[in-house]
Subunit: 266 residues, 2 copies
């Protein structure tokens, strides 16, 4: 079963296209968890318990797990989320030359691995090929990102008349021989969302930026989905909706509310 087939099932079961970003920034994780052995995992576990029935997927960002204990917390988190039946996208934004990319691709191997990963297209096809080769795993290619600097390179006009991000979408479409490729397109770029949906109708989008970054929810849902499959992500808007002792309860409510708002536009 491909990643997108599994995701389609999950979207149906949960009646949700919400992806919850698991970015346990320790400066915002409630104090009482700081003394746990793996505080990021302790935090994520409570977030997952409170939000999983509303989540079509979880997306831990690798940046928040980059030390020895962090990797253990990440491994526990991935296994726990998958145990709840929720697919996990590792937001790693990786790419490297051949032998090194194969090394990164091991992040998708084994029982406790993520179901999908995000990759950066700047180094071209061979730098992401080891990810593309895994038929049962998904690959989301960064296309038009939600941050202000996203325009610096991605919006440049090519001699052919396309923008760089449009060329990236075309490349990603070519790279989709295993039906396992999607695009990351920020909700803050709603015109680009619309034109990209037209350009590559078959690629599901992962759309970040609707929460703290203020992106448009309607176009995120309208253009993010391909034949009903796609994800709209919120991280801080859910997991840090409340930084007190009831953080998990509040996160669950925030997830439910956003799921419903998204569903009204499906």
């Amino acid at each position: 079963m491909t990643f997108f087939e599994r995701l389609r099932e999950r979207i149906q079961v949960a009646n949700s296209v919400l992806c919850v970003g698991l970015d346990p920034d320790m400066s915002r994780v409630p104090e009482q968890l700081h003394e746990k052995e793996l505080p990021q995992w302790a935090f994520n576990r409570r977030i997952i318990d409170a939000t999983h029935e509303h989540a079509a997927a979880y997306k831990p960002n690798a940046a928040f797990y980059e030390d020895s204990e962090g990797w253990r917390a990440l491994t526990e988190t991935i296994a726990y989320a998958r145990g709840k039946g929720v697919p996990v996208i590792l937001d790693a934004k990786r790419a490297d030359i051949g032998n090194t990319a194969r090394q990164y691709a091991k992040l998708l191997e084994g029982d406790h691995a993520a179901d999908a990963i995000t990759v950066n297209p700047y180094m071209g096809r061979d730098s992401v090929e080891p990810f593309l080769a895994r038929e049962d795993r998904g690959v989301f290619v960064l296309c038009r990102t939600s941050n202000p600097g996203g325009a610096d390179l991605q919006d440049l006009e090519l001699a052919s008349g396309d923008a760089v991000y449009e060329r990236v979408a075309a490349l990603a479409d070519l790279w989709n021989a295993n039906a396992n490729v999607g695009l990351v397109v920020g909700a803050t770029a709603s015109e680009e969302l619309e034109s990209l949906r037209e350009q590559v109708p078959d690629l599901p989008f992962l759309v970040p930026g609707v929460g703290s970054q203020g992106g448009d929810i309607e176009s995120a849902v309208e253009f993010g989905l391909s034949d009903g499959v796609g994800l709209v992500n919120s991280s801080r808007g859910i997991i840090f909706a409340d930084e007190g002792e009831q953080f998990d309860k509040t996160a669950g409510e925030a997830a439910k509310r956003l799921k419903r708002r998204l569903n009204r536009n499906r």
Copy 2:
């Protein structure tokens, strides 16, 4: 003291512009080290002992350390190399949106942190800003990479007439307010090396691809250095020159030989 001032001193002391890539691929690390507690660290330690007098810098690629034990091995490696007086560049190719990039930037914090890092420019300025802000640390921006897919995006012609990689060089030059920015330019792209040196005379280059990838050594040295500062990297060509018990001795000889070849072109 900025990173490039430290690097200039090291280049003079070691009489070398050689950067040794520490990519301990476990499928090539000698069997007898696999039973050590942290095999990558055991391997790197012997490589550093054997090569440090020829090395202007070490460059561990983060892909080879991405698990719980790997991060411990990486931390030990960085501390040990710096203890020998050799600066360390973490080849991480990172970039992310603001709050997440700040998280990655912590990889440059503290006594045991790397001296410099490689970053991916696709997401634009704010995605690398937290790295640029550290005046005492170096930032190498991926510009024209040495892999075959490097051409897919980087060589595209813009409406302005420049190639994408030339625009990246111009952006990196703008981002250099703290005199801490360099470029990654592969030795396999010798024409691009020459034209980039002309375009941004003040930016030191980190030039990979002279070993297993077959890039041109002469142009790597001639165009890689800015006022004598820059690095030419070899990874597999040195650390896996011999996969038997004498691997460290052979690596030391390979490093010495490459250092001399580079020096003949300085």
